[in-house]
C-alpha cells in the first residue's frame, strides 16, 4: 500500500499537470494546499532546494520539478501512458516539452508582465517560438496525436493560463488570427472531458491574476 502526497497551489499550471497525471493513472493521493507566502515547515523539510510546488512525496521520499515528477509517475504506475513507448518518439516528446517550457511559456509570461523594450523583446521571442509550434501541431488533435501526451501536459500553461493572463493585462500575442492551429489545439485541450476536470475555475484564476497585476505580487 503506497502513500502518496502532493504539495501544491490551486492556481499553478505545474501542479495541475501533476494532478492530471496522478488522476490519469488512478493514483490515490493526499493533496496539501501550500500557502506560498507562508510555506509550512513540513513542505520546506521535503523541498529545501527549490522551495517550489509541486512536490510529490511517495512513501516518504520527495520528488520535485513537474517534468521530473511526470517521468516518475509514468514509470511507477500502470495505466494509460503519458510518454510514448518508442525511445525516439519519447526523446522527441522530451525535446518538444523542453521547447514549450523554455522558448514559448517563459517569454509569453514575461511579455505579459514586462513593459517597454523588455516586453517587445519577449514578444518577439515568443512569436518566433510559436511559429515553430504552430507548424508542429498542424494536422494533429493534440501534440501527443489522438490522445494527450507529455507535450500537452507541459503546454497546459499556454492553453489555459496564457489566454486568461493576456485578457487581464490587455496584451495579446497568442491569437486565433496569428496562430490558428495552436488556438484550435487550446480549445481541444481545454474542452477535453478528462483535462477539463483537471483545470482550475477560469473566473478564480482571472481574479487572482487581476489581483496580482494590481498588487504586483503573484501570490
Amino acid at each position: 500500500m503506497s502513500e502518496v502526497k502532493l504539495f501544491g497551489a490551486w492556481f499553478s499550471p505545474y501542479v495541475k499537470r501533476v494532478e492530471m497525471a496522478l488522476n490519469l493513472k488512478g493514483v490515490e493521493y493526499e493533496y496539501i494546499e501550500e500557502d506560498l507566502k507562508n510555506k509550512s515547515p513540513l513542505f520546506l523539510q521535503y523541498n529545501p532546494i527549490t522551495k517550489l510546488v509541486p512536490v510529490l512525496v511517495h512513501n516518504g521520499k520527495p520528488i520535485f520539478e513537474s517534468t521530473v515528477i511526470l517521468e516518475y509517475i509514468d514509470e511507477t504506475w500502470e495505466g494509460p501512458s503519458i510518454f510514448p513507448k518508442d525511445p525516439y518518439d519519447r526523446a522527441m516528446s522530451r525535446f518538444w516539452a523542453k521547447f514549450v517550457e523554455d522558448k514559448c511559456s517563459d517569454p509569453l509570461w514575461k511579455a505579459c508582465w514586462a513593459a517597454g523594450e523588455e516586453r517587445e523583446k519577449a514578444k518577439k521571442e515568443a512569436e518566433e517560438a510559436l511559429k515553430i509550434l504552430e507548424n508542429e501541431i498542424k494536422g494533429k488533435k493534440f501534440f501527443g496525436g489522438d490522445n494527450i501526451g507529455l507535450v500537452d501536459y507541459v503546454a497546459n500553461y499556454i492553453a489555459f493560463w496564457i489566454p486568461l493572463l493576456q485578457d487581464v493585462v490587455g496584451f495579446h500575442i497568442l491569437t486565433q488570427d496569428k496562430f490558428p492551429n495552436i488556438w484550435k489545439w487550446c480549445y481541444e485541450l481545454c474542452n477535453d472531458s478528462f483535462v477539463k476536470k483537471n483545470l482550475p475555475e477560469k473566473e478564480k484564476v482571472s481574479s487572482g491574476l487581476k489581483r496580482a497585476v494590481e498588487t504586483g505580487s503573484l501570490y
Binding site: 511517495h58 520539478e65 521530473v68 514509470e75 525516439y88 526523446a91 522527441m92 522530451r94 525535446f95 523542453k98
Partner: protein, 224 residues
C-alpha cells in the same frame, strides 16, 4: 521511427561542453559513431536540416533520425543501449538524477557562464549565484567517487564542464568560483572525472579553450 541501419553520427563543435557530454556517454557505452565537426558561427546546410528548430549542437543522428539536446540524447542512449547504464535503475534514484542534471545545466552552468559574459555588479552576482549552486552540488556529491557512485553517471556527465572548463572560465573572467578549500568533495570529484580513462586524453587543450573563451568574453562585453 524507421530503422535503416545508417549507424550513429554526432554533429558537434570542438569546444562545446554539451557535445563532450554526449561523446563521453557514447564512449562509456562503447557505441561506435562518426563525429562530424560543425562551425557553429558558419552553419552548414546539414545542421539547418537536422536541427531546424534550434540550430544548435550536439545533434545525434541514429539510423537517419536526428535528435538534439544533450540531456535528452543521453537519456535516449540509455534507453537504446541499455548496458553500462548512465541513469540509475531505481525510479526514485532516476528522478533524483534528472533533477540534479537539470540543476547542473540551469543553475550551475548558467550562472558560471554569465560570469564569463559580464563584468561589474552583474558578474559579482553571477559569481555569488554560482557559488551558492555549487554548495548544493557539494552536498549532493557527498564524498563519493562520482555522482553516479563508483561509475560515471548522467549527473557526472552533466556536471563535467565544472571539472575541465570552469577553471578556464575562472581564469578568463578573473574570478574564483570553485575554491578547492571550500569545496573538498567537488575538488576530489574533479580529479576523478578528468582522470577517468574515457575522459583523459579526450579533453580540448587548455590554451585553445582559453583563447576561444577570451574571445567570447570580449564579444559579450562589447554587447553590454
Amino acid at each position: 521511427m524507421e530503422k535503416s541501419n545508417k549507424g550513429v553520427q554526432l554533429v558537434g563543435f570542438w569546444v562545446s561542453p554539451f557535445v563532450h557530454r554526449v561523446k563521453w556517454g557514447m564512449k562509456l557505452k562503447g557505441i561506435e559513431f562518426e563525429y562530424i565537426e560543425e562551425d557553429v558561427f558558419n552553419r552548414s546546410p546539414l545542421l539547418s536540416q537536422i536541427n531546424p528548430v534550434t540550430g544548435k549542437v550536439p545533434v545525434l543522428v541514429h539510423d537517419g533520425n536526428p535528435l538534439p539536446e544533450s540531456s535528452i540524447i543521453l537519456e535516449y542512449l540509455d534507453e537504446v543501449w541499455s548496458h553500462a547504464p548512465l541513469l540509475p535503475l531505481d525510479a526514485y534514484q532516476r528522478a533524483q538524477a534528472r533533477f540534479w542534471a537539470t540543476f547542473a545545466d540551469q543553475k550551475v552552468f548558467e550562472s558560471a557562464w554569465l560570469s564569463v559574459c559580464s563584468k561589474g555588479e552583474i558578474q559579482e552576482k553571477a559569481v555569488k549565484d554560482a557559488i551558492g549552486h555549487l554548495e548544493r552540488m557539494e552536498e549532493q556529491q557527498g564524498g563519493r567517487r562520482f555522482f553516479g557512485g563508483d561509475t560515471i553517471g548522467h549527473v557526472d556527465l552533466m556536471m563535467g564542464f565544472v571539472a575541465y572548463m570552469l577553471p578556464v572560465w575562472e581564469e578568463v573572467a578573473a574570478v574564483t568560483i570553485l575554491d578547492a578549500s571550500k569545496f573538498p568533495n567537488l575538488a576530489a570529484w574533479k580529479s576523478n572525472f578528468v582522470d577517468h580513462p574515457a575522459i583523459k586524453g579526450d579533453l580540448p587543450f587548455k590554451d585553445e579553450m582559453f583563447t576561444y573563451f577570451q574571445g567570447r568574453r570580449e564579444v559579450h562585453l562589447q554587447r553590454i
